[in-house]
């Protein structure tokens, strides 16, 4: 292909505050339409906005997490346009002077790391929802969402494939949850991406005309929409056509993008500073106090786990993919499990079971204390790794049971008494003299067969390492 793909993303992150950005109304999702629309949400005559400090704190946390400059002075502006779900006839947003200045986010695309530049992030209020066809062709307006705080995070056009765009979106999605500013619920619209896509002839520097795909709320849609859009643009250009700057919608049913409005129809938003709100002044003291409360960031934790605990890049990435996974892992370590085994068990058995039941790790029936005890039973050789899987399965269904009781009940306790193993081996050697002969005549494979017989004779309970060792000694005599 002789085309470069250029992608920039604007993400609307719904901030996890208790109330709306400019009023005290609740932000809970799923209320009866307009049950969370206070006078400010309804834009009654005479009401005024009052900035929610919590939303500001969230924006500062984000800025610090992407190494961005926090503006000491930012300004709320009015973006004027008429729409029934925009009650004031303007949206309060930050325009010329946003709260968060340039920063960076490192994404990993396969094996390579790539830095995506964050241009800015600004605070704004969400609009309400138009619900078409509520009753005989009429449109209903639900203003519960009107005024919910959003942080709009804008990147430079630094991504060059759908994969990179998705990697960025996933990384950002993890980060905003990690620092506690967003619940990350994409179905409920807490994290929505507008993706700007353009293509240009390979090697040229001038950017092509972009089209903006609006409101993508799943990683799969981001992937599909970009793939479709890129193909559409390339085909059009190769057919000698031109791309018109426009806003497009993605239809998940057929996987296509379709133009919504072109630049000529674009609104003139008549931005101007909102005279109802004073400029937002943030002093160094506030930034420092928030910085002191910031959690260690996923990239930092990952690096630390690699260096201090010897985890592989793969394991460390998996363990730091999500803050609650990291928490779970840390508790395993705290309870004495070894890092490598802890990571294996989380990323392996636990994840597959959680996925199977569509559960979040915080709702895992197996608590970290129990999993740590199980791992310790492997480490102290009470049970084999295979036996541990059986204990794990049993524990999943009976989370209240004691691990040692399960081990006992299932008879999984490993035989590590060398005298006892000695006896079993001696018996096997006598009963399978033919195999012994084969081995001694040079057939290495016969060794494994003998190990198998010993395990069988011990009903799988003999410590395999010990069996290997003792058997080897006896055969070499």
């Amino acid at each position: 292909m002789d085309w470069d793909i250029v992608i920039g993303i604007e993400t609307h992150v719904q901030l996890k505050t208790n109330s709306k950005i400019f009023s005290g109304a609740s932000v809970k999702y799923g209320g009866e339409p307009n049950s969370q629309a206070c006078l400010v949400s309804l834009a009654y005559p005479g009401v005024l906005p009052v900035l929610n400090e919590e939303a500001v704190n969230c924006a500062i946390r984000f800025g610090l997490a992407v190494n961005a400059k926090i503006s000491s002075y930012s300004v709320f502006a009015r973006k004027n346009y008429f729409y029934p779900d925009l009650p004031k006839g303007y949206q309060i947003s930050q325009y010329e002077l946003p709260i968060v200045g340039p920063g960076t986010l490192t994404i990993s695309n396969g094996s390579e790391d790539k830095i995506v530049r964050i241009l800015r992030a600004h605070l704004e209020e969400d609009a309400g929802k138009s619900i078409h066809g509520v009753s005989n062709g009429k449109t209903g307006i639900d203003l519960n969402r009107a005024g919910i705080p959003l942080l709009e995070i804008v990147t430079e056009p630094d991504m060059n494939s759908a994969d990179e765009a998705v990697a960025y979106a996933k990384k950002l999605h993890e980060l905003v949850q990690w620092i506690g500013i967003c619940d990350g619920n994409m179905q409920e619209g807490s994290f929505r991406c507008d993706v700007n896509v353009s293509v240009k002839k390979k090697g040229t520097s001038k950017l092509g005309t972009r089209r903006e795909i609006k409101n993508l709320n799943s990683f799969r849609f981001i992937q599909q929409a970009i793939d479709f859009e890129v193909n559409w643009q390339i085909e059009r250009l190769e057919d000698g056509g031109e791309i018109e700057q426009s806003t497009v919608l993605f239809n998940p049913d057929n996987g296509e993008t379709r133009a919504m409005r072109s630049k000529e129809e674009a609104n003139d938003y008549r931005y101007f500073p909102d005279p109802d709100l004073l400029p937002l002044v943030i002093n160094e003291g506030k930034i420092n106090s928030i910085r002191s409360e910031m959690p260690e960031l996923p990239d930092q934790v990952k690096e630390r786990f690699e260096n201090e605990l010897g985890l592989s890049n793969y394991d460390a990435s998996g363990i730091t993919s999500n803050r609650s996974v990291t928490q779970y892992f840390k508790q395993l370590i705290f309870k004495g499990a070894s890092a490598k085994l802890a990571a294996n068990w989380i990323l392996g058995n636990l994840f597959s079971r959680l996925n199977e039941h569509d559960l979040d790790i915080t709702n895992s029936p197996i608590k970290p204390e129990e999993l740590a005890r199980l791992i310790k039973r492997i480490e102290d050789q009470t049970i084999s790794n295979n036996a541990a899987k059986k204990v794990f399965d049993n524990l999943w269904d009976n989370p209240d049971r004691d691990i040692d009781v399960i081990i006992e009940a299932l008879g999984l306790k490993q035989i590590s008494d060398s005298g006892q193993i000695d006896g079993i081996i001696d018996e096997v050697l006598i009963n399978h003299a033919a195999m012994v002969e084969e081995y001694q005549s040079g057939k290495e494979k016969a060794f494994n067969a003998l190990v198998g017989q010993v395990m069988k004779a011990s009903k799988g309970k003999a410590n395999p390492a010990q069996v290997n060792e003792i058997l080897k000694t006896k055969l070499s005599k």
Partner: protein, 484 residues
């Protein structure tokens, strides 16, 4: 009861010479009798008012009376008052019943004052003659053929006609001071941010400020005491120690430096008005003040700057009147756009639409820098002029209005002429300074107002300077004939 000041009414209520119910009934009767000819009130609700009066009487009985307890105050129909129709004198809000109280209303309620009714005004406070009201013009009690000024024309006419002993007003470019001047009253526009704007229907948010209107500076002081205070519901309201304006009312003004801007006495000022203003200034020198000539070199830019900034903010503030959630909606329409067009076309009056158009224009892409940004820069220069002037004086004085009350209809069709009415008042709104108008004489039997401009948060000084004048003169006690 007719001619008693708020202070005297307060004393009589305390003495139980009459009750709040009697007092309220007295004014309600007068409103019933005279409002049809003056049109100062848009909404009267006897039951509500009398219920408040009863409550006040109970408080007085219990000995918990505060300064304004039991005193009827008329409220400009720009303030939302729970359960009261609140129209802003617009068809758009003709049937709008406010579901909550503006902070100003809340404060009067807590002070035990009685809401006497909602007063007429220019539609959305846009006008200087009270002729833009959807509910008809207000007549000047001094001469029913004349306008009372605007936009707080209903409040001014109500007080002048003795239909209410005091009233609230709001002032975006002169809307308290000019009608006070044209109706022979005392009216104060406080420093921007001193009185909460919460619940006061917005015209131009960076300029709007509520204030008291009454006969005297002393009465305004009593009302202002109640109105001020930081409000967490208004981010632009200032946090400062609450002042009490009464103790300093009688302070000596000996040695007071009165700055008189030469720009206030040029072309456009009625010569007869100038004579009255000069006499008032002479009176002040007799009282110990000194006159200092000052200059406000950018004052001539105040009107053009104002007519960029105020309409810009208004065009956005009035977007919420779209027929979707409350207020007027066109009876018939084809689709959403048609609903917007017809609703706003039919619901707003001419002047409001003119200002929405101007505001939309100056904020449009390509014009923003040339108009809005430039206006903001000049606004700063105007503030700087005042800052420099206050280096050399304590109070600035001049006319409140270039003329006395003019005929109804005289300027209605000529917006530019109408806008000139505010030539002396607008610059203080742009600078955010406090200013007051007090009656200082008559021209052709119509009142003339002297404007007093103070430095930021020097309301106490303005009230003191006004009160000293009124202690030595009786212009503020004059009342129009025929109605009283």
């Amino acid at each position: 009861m007719l001619n008693l000041s708020l202070k005297e009414l307060s004393v009589q209520l305390e003495k139980k010479t009459f009750s709040s119910v009697e007092l309220t009934q007295f004014f309600l009767e007068r409103i019933k009798l005279h409002n049809p000819s003056i049109n100062a009130f848009l909404t009267i609700d006897e039951n509500k008012s009398l219920l408040m009066a009863k409550d006040a009487d109970r408080i007085i009985q219990n000995g918990d009376k505060k300064a304004l307890t039991g005193i009827p105050i008329a409220q400009k129909d720009i303030f939302c008052a729970e359960g009261w129709r609140t129209t802003c004198a617009s068809k758009m809000l003709e049937n709008f019943i406010a579901p909550y109280n503006a902070t100003v209303i809340e404060k009067f309620n807590q002070a035990g004052a009685v809401n006497l009714g909602k007063t007429n005004m220019d539609e959305f406070a846009m006008g200087s003659s009270n002729e833009t009201s959807y509910f008809g013009l207000v007549k000047n009690p001094w001469d029913l053929l004349k306008v009372p000024g605007g936009s707080s024309g209903g409040s001014a006419a109500a007080i002048a006609a003795r239909l209410s002993p005091g009233a609230t007003g709001t002032d975006t470019g002169g809307s308290i001071r000019q009608p006070a001047s044209l109706c022979g009253l005392t009216g104060l526009k406080p420093t921007y941010g001193l009185v909460s704007r919460y619940g006061m229907i917005a015209f131009a948010s960076s300029l709007d400020q509520a204030g008291p209107m009454a006969h005297s500076a002393e009465d305004c002081a009593l009302m202002l005491d109640v109105m001020i205070g930081h409000d967490i519901k208004d981010s632009t309201s200032v946090e400062r120690k609450n002042e009490n304006y009464l103790p300093t009312l009688n302070d000596s003004i000996d040695g007071l430096r009165i700055g008189v801007p030469k720009e206030f006495f040029g072309e456009g000022l009625d010569v007869a008005v100038q004579v009255v203003i000069d006499n008032a200034l002479k009176e002040y020198t007799k009282l110990g003040a000194k006159i200092v000539e000052i200059s406000l070199p950018n004052n001539h830019l105040a009107i053009p700057v104002y007519y960029v900034i105020a309409p810009a903010e208004a065009s956005s503030n009035l977007s919420r009147y779209d027929g979707v959630r409350y207020g007027y909606r066109a009876a018939e329409y084809d689709d959403l756009m048609d609903m917007y067009f017809k609703t706003r076309q039919e619901g707003f009056g001419e002047e409001v639409k003119r200002r929405i158009l101007i505001g939309t224009y100056v904020l449009s892409a390509g014009y923003f820098d040339a108009y809005y940004l430039k206006a903001q820069k000049i606004r700063r220069l105007i503030s700087d002029d005042f800052r420099a002037a206050f280096e050399n004086c304590d109070v600035i004085m001049g006319p409140s209005s270039p003329s006395v009350a003019f005929d109804s209809g005289e300027k209605k069709e000529d917006p530019l002429k109408m806008y000139m009415q505010d030539i002396f008042t607008i610059s203080t709104n742009l600078a955010g300074l406090p200013a007051m108008s007090i009656p200082v004489g008559f021209v052709r039997n119509l009142p003339v107002g002297l404007q007093l401009i103070g430095n930021y948060f020097e309301e106490a000084k303005l009230l003191n300077v006004g009160h000293i004048f009124q202690k030595n003169t009786d212009w503020h006690l004059a009342s129009p004939k025929g109605l009283v």
